[in-house]
Symmetry: C2
Subunit: 150 residues, 2 copies
C-alpha cells in the first residue's frame, strides 16, 4: 500500500494515533480519517468501502482489528445493532452518544446529550454499578419518512 495521500492528511490524525501510543500505519490513518470525515457512525464494511473509494484497498479483517484497538483505547465506540451489524463512531468530548435510527429508511443519525448521560449514571449508581460507558438507541421514524407517510 502506498502513502501518496499521506501528505494531505490532516496532521491531527497522526497526532491522535501517537497520543495513544499507536504506530501510525497507513491502515490506521485511513480508518481514522474516514471516521473523522464521515462525521457519523459507520459499519466496518462502510469504512472499508469509503477507504476503497477514496484511497486504497485494505483488508476488512484489519478494520476489525483496528476498530477493536481504537475501542480499547477509547477512541471509538462500537454499537451492535439488530440486523446483525455494528456501527462505529468516534468518541467526542461533547457528551453522550445517542443513535437515532429510522425504522423505515434505515438511516442512523447520532446526537449527543449530557443530561441523558447524567441520568444514566444515576441509574447505574442506584443499581450498584460503576459505569464506564453507555449506549443508547432510539428507534423511530425520521422527519423525512414522516413527511413521506402523509
Amino acid at each position: 500500500m502506498q502513502s501518496i495521500f499521506l501528505l494531505n492528511m490532516a496532521i491531527d490524525i497522526v497526532k491522535i494515533l501517537h497520543r495513544h501510543d499507536l504506530r501510525s500505519t497507513t491502515a490506521r490513518r485511513l480508518v481514522l480519517k474516514v471516521l473523522v470525515d464521515g462525521k457519523k457512525p459507520l459499519t466496518h464494511k462502510q469504512i472499508l468501502q469509503r477507504i476503497k473509494e477514496e484511497y486504497d484497498s485494505i483488508n476488512l479483517v484489519s478494520i476489525y482489528r483496528i476498530i477493536q484497538k481504537f475501542e480499547e483505547l477509547g477512541i471509538v465506540h462500537s454499537h451492535s445493532r439488530s440486523g446483525g451489524f455494528t456501527l462505529c463512531s468516534l468518541i467526542g468530548d461533547s457528551g453522550h452518544h445517542v443513535l437515532l435510527s429510522c425504522e423505515q429508511c434505515g438511516k442512523v443519525e447520532e446526537c449527543m446529550d449530557k443530561e441523558l448521560c447524567k441520568k444514566e449514571n444515576e441509574i447505574a449508581k442506584e443499581n450498584g454499578f460503576s459505569p464506564t460507558s453507555h449506549l443508547n438507541e432510539i428507534i423511530g421514524v425520521c422527519e423525512s419518512c414522516q413527511l413521506c407517510n402523509t
Copy 2:
C-alpha cells in the same frame, strides 16, 4: 414434541398468545414461559437451553422465528450486543428497558426507568424523530465485581 407439561403451565401464557392472535403452539408457550420465568434478558441460545433442561427439545431456528414474531407484536424486545449476541426480554408495562452489563463478569441485569424514557422521547423530538422504542445499555462494573477488586 409432547405437551405433558401443558397442564401446569400458567394460563396467562396461553392468554398472552391468544391476545395477540397467535396460535398457542408448544414452542411458543415454552419460549414465552422461559422468558416469563427467567425474569431477565436471555439470548436465543439460552432460551433453547432452558427449554431443553426443563422441558423438551425444540429447534433453535424456531426460537429465532418465534422471537421475531413476538418482537413484531411488541411482546419482546431484542437487544443486539457487542460480542455478537442478542438479548431478548419481555416488554413489561413498567417503563423503559435499561441493560446494566458488567464488563468483568459478563452479567447482564435489567432495570426500568420512566424518566429516562421521557428524556429520550424529548431527544427524539428535538431531532424530528417520532420514537417507537428505545434501547439502553450501561456498561460498567457490577457491585460484586467491585467488591472482588478491592
